[in-house]
């Protein structure tokens, strides 16, 4: 039992549509409400635009769109999870934050082989609990490839 305590990892769990996803809590910087974003020209559709995060320009990824899920126009009830990957910070637009979980290794599974590119690209592991499963997102992969963008 004590072994498991050492191995535990902490995740922040959020909801997009009917599904739950999570990211490692160490990657998140803050959670904030939705504010109107400024659209960027020549950018992929899943990139909502940029918002002002205390003076820095924060790009926002619409997670539903990025994962190919149905989405609705964001409202004030939507939430932006600010994550940091290396030296870049960006926001993920999600429906709501539902949980913060301590998960032991016994509940972490690798992603099952699915017939979808998205699972392979964006999911790292799956948290399997008694009554729910939660896919762990790899934030690094969410942002558009910078090089192809510059072209």
């Amino acid at each position: 039992m004590s072994e498991n305590n050492v191995e535990k990892e902490e995740f922040i769990v959020f909801r997009v549509g009917q599904q739950e996803f999570c990211v490692e809590i160490t990657m998140t910087r803050e959670i904030r409400g939705w504010t109107q974003s400024t659209t960027l020209p020549h950018s992929p559709s899943f990139l909502m635009g940029v918002i002002n995060l205390r003076g820095t320009i924060l790009p926002i990824v619409n997670l539903a769109k990025r994962l190919g899920l149905p989405y609705e126009e964001p409202t004030e009830r939507h939430v932006i999870i600010v994550v940091q990957v290396e030296d870049k910070t960006f926001g993920m637009l999600v429906d709501s934050v539902s949980d913060i979980l301590d998960v032991g290794t016994e509940n972490l599974r690798s992603v099952p082989e699915l017939d979808t590119k998205i699972a392979e690209d964006f999911f790292n592991r799956v948290i399997v609990l008694e009554d729910r499963i939660i896919c762990e997102i790899i934030p690094d992969k969410l942002m558009p490839d910078m090089e192809s963008l510059a072209a």
Partner: protein, 726 residues
């Protein structure tokens, strides 16, 4: 870790010292030598050497040593300075810079044996300093007299020397001063411990030994005084010359003295017993290193440390010794300043948001709330300007670097030229200074390489052998203007034009004004040199320069008078943190267009819009046809317009002097905007230069006019050449 940071400080100080050195030498070469400048130059090299010693940078020490000796020749006698010598010193300064850089990077040190040998030869450094003076004296007879005098005349001085606490705190050691005195002649040193209480009541701050020294020497009074030069402020010193006589009481040697000191009751037993404040003793060497590093240049012990005595500083040097400057500046990590500037930008935004809210809430401007807000606005503005001024720096360091460029190009091309600076104290934001260095280097190279003629040609044209490159900086209507004048041959317009036609930059039929031809050298792919030289780069010509200047939000132009020379004029914004922007609205979004690129704004009338070909629209402005760039559709935010009767036209000019008509729905207003990088969290976006945050907290994108225009041009098939140059 600690040592690393000290080392870092040392190299940071080196940069300052090298700048000081170069500035000093530059002043000497243009205004002739004066003792203060020579001293400051000497001190700079000395400090570099001292610090290098502390870090065991042997190569640096040995070159700095030769350098210092060479400077000492001039310091001892200003008439020893000559043009060729100063030139050599300037080149040595370049080498020293390289060696310091190599030491800093731990890279392979530069080979300096050649220039060191040259220095030694030029300044006859092998010889003893005294003899060297002899060698350069024009009246040999008087020399003999002098020598005899030197042999026979022994002066006797009585020196009372009472160090204050600062002396120890600054890392000086009386012992080293005594050694220097002993090098001058016979010395008798008597300590006076009357001010030192016993161990039990010892007060470190106030109780110090003082000394009475009798010195019998051939040196003159000011030479003796020079020994104390570095500690003058930190001691009470009285030097009296006494009649030459037998040194009756000279039975006290320094060894006795040292024994004596160690016997003093307040000295701890295990202490070797030198310093009157024993606790300081261990720290002394460390303090020495640190104070050298920290650029405290009043340290005489460096010479004593070097082992053998240097030439005693000359009378002249002693006369005009400067008090060590107490610098009021502090060294701050530029990131901290950047952060401050960011926060300042935030505050400006929050303040305008607050204003908006207060106004909407219906407070009168005379109400207490309104007045308080007013006060806040005033404060914000003041804070903004003082924060910006922190980052403003004189442009001088960049200009000084150019003198090296001129020297290098001259030696590569066999031409002669010197650099004259004007307005080098003009202050600009550091971001601009950083960005300016490369294009300026390129332009200076170009001016010497292509502008200044060869020596023969200059003589034939009745000009002085050496060309003159003049760098002028000034402020003008919120911009900084930098001009590069050369007195060379000017632009060969026939050659430029024929070359431009050969390269297809202009069509043979085009009629160009002189000014337009001159500006052709900025056209992409243009290079006037018959062969590509090492000096001015390979094919990357002035177009790159123009691009980088435009990247800084500036412009560059040339004007030239054949036979007389050319003038490059650059105008740049004072800062890259704030931009004068025109706020426009189109496709329901706000955009900022830099005012610097705008020429005029006109209300759109469908009568002025014409279609050319299947989809290209042009705008007719006073008989000139200007291609239309409709901003909304161009960015993909709106569909192409069907009606051209509502909206505003902004006529903008892009770098290559071509104009475009930017179409937007409406103009919101002109305001200063704080520039925010898109790249820091995302990536560069085509057509967008940066972003800014508006008063309502929303982000507005700043358009990259240059890129939008060139993108548009690339899409368009080759156009017939208009009156404008492409």
């Amino acid at each position: 870790m600690q040592l690393d940071s000290i080392r870092e400080t040392y190299f940071a100080e080196c940069v300052d010292q090298l700048a000081e050195l170069e500035t000093g030498l530059f002043t000497i070469s243009s205004d002739g030598p004066d003792i203060e400048t020579v001293n400051s130059v000497f001190r700079a090299v000395h400090s570099i050497k001292g610090g290098a010693g502390a870090f065991a940078l042997d190569k640096l020490v040995s070159f700095a040593h030769v350098f210092e000796n060479a400077l000492d020749v001039i310091r001892n006698d200003l008439s020893q300075s000559s043009e060729s010598r100063i030139d050599l010193l300037l080149r040595s300064a370049d080498v020293l810079t390289d060696i310091v850089q190599a030491a800093k990077d731990d890279s392979e040190p530069v080979d300096f044996t050649e220039i060191a040998a040259e220095l030694e030869k030029e300044f006859n450094l092998e010889a003893e300093p005294e003899e060297e003076e002899v060698a350069f004296d024009v009246v040999p007879i008087s020399l003999d007299d002098l020598e005899i005098e030197v042999e026979e005349n022994k002066n006797r001085f009585e020196i009372s020397f009472a160090p204050k606490q600062e002396l120890y705190l600054n890392g000086h050691d009386p012992q080293k001063i005594f050694r220097e005195l002993m090098d001058l002649g016979e010395c008798t040193i008597t300590p006076d411990d009357s001010r030192v209480a016993g161990l039990e009541r010892h007060d470190l701050a106030n109780d110090h030994l003082s000394w009475t020294i009798t010195l019998e020497t051939t040196s003159l009074e000011n030479e003796v005084q020079a020994v104390f030069e570095w500690v003058l402020d930190a001691c009470e010193l009285d030097i009296k010359e006494i009649e030459t006589g037998s040194a009756a009481d000279a039975d006290f040697s320094i060894d006795d003295f040292l024994d004596d000191v160690s016997d003093l009751p307040e000295v701890e037993e295990d202490d070797p017993g030198l310093a009157p404040a024993p606790e300081l003793d261990e720290g002394v060497s460390a303090i020495e290193a640190i104070s050298e590093v920290a650029g405290i240049d009043d340290l005489s012990s460096g010479e004593a440390l070097a082992g053998k005595p240097e030439a005693a500083p000359s009378p002249k040097a002693a006369e005009t010794k400067e008090k060590p400057k107490t610098s009021k500046s502090i060294r701050v990590d530029s990131e901290k300043v950047d952060r401050l500037i960011n926060l300042m930008g935030e505050m400006v935004i929050s303040q305008s948001m607050l204003t908006l809210q207060v106004n909407e809430a219906g407070f009168a401007s005379a109400s207490p709330t309104g007045l308080a807000l007013n006060e806040l606005q005033t404060l914000t503005r003041e804070i903004q300007s003082s924060v910006m001024s922190i980052r403003a720096q004189p442009i001088k360091p960049v200009f000084m670097r150019m003198s090296r460029v001129v020297r290098e190009v001259c030696s590569a091309t066999g031409k002669k030229a010197h650099l004259v600076l004007e307005g080098e104290h003009t202050e600009v934001d550091t971001t601009v200074i950083e960005g300016l260095s490369d294009p300026l280097t390129h332009m200076i190279r170009n001016s010497v390489d292509h502008g200044i003629e060869s020596i023969e040609d200059r003589v034939a044209a009745g000009k002085p052998e050496a060309g003159e490159i003049k760098l002028v900086a000034s402020h003008s209507s919120g911009k900084i203007v930098i001009e590069i004048h050369d007195d060379g041959g000017g632009i060969n317009r026939d050659k430029v034009l024929s070359l431009a036609i050969d390269k297809g930059i202009v069509s043979p039929e085009a009629k160009l004004s002189d000014e337009e031809i001159d500006n052709l050298i900025f056209a992409p792919g243009f290079s006037t040199a018959d062969e590509i030289t090492d000096v001015s780069g390979r094919g990357v010509g002035m177009d790159v320069v123009r691009q980088s200047i435009q990247g800084l939000g500036g412009r560059v132009n040339i004007s030239s008078i054949p036979g007389k020379g050319s003038v490059f004029t650059m105008s740049l914004p004072l800062t890259l943190a704030i931009l004068d922007g025109m706020l426009v609205k189109t496709a329901d979004q706000m955009f900022v267009i830099p005012v610097s690129s705008m020429i005029e704004t006109i209300r759109l009338k469908s009568a002025d819009v014409f279609q050319i070909g299947d989809q290209h629209m042009v705008f007719k402005l006073r008989n000139q046809l200007i291609p239309i760039v409709d901003v909304g559709p161009e960015l993909g935010f709106a569909d192409k317009r069907t009606q051209y009767d509502e909206g505003t036209v902004l006529v903008v000019e892009s770098g290559n002097n071509s104009m475009s008509a930017f179409l937007v729905d409406s103009i919101v207003g002109q305001q200063q905007v704080v520039i925010k990088s898109m790249e820091s969290n995302y990536a560069r976006i085509p057509s967008i230069a940066a972003a800014t945050i508006l008063g309502n907290g929303r982000i507005a994108l700043i358009l990259d006019v240059e890129e939008i225009v060139s993108r548009k041009v690339r899409e368009v098939p080759p156009q017939p050449v208009l009156d404008e140059i492409a």
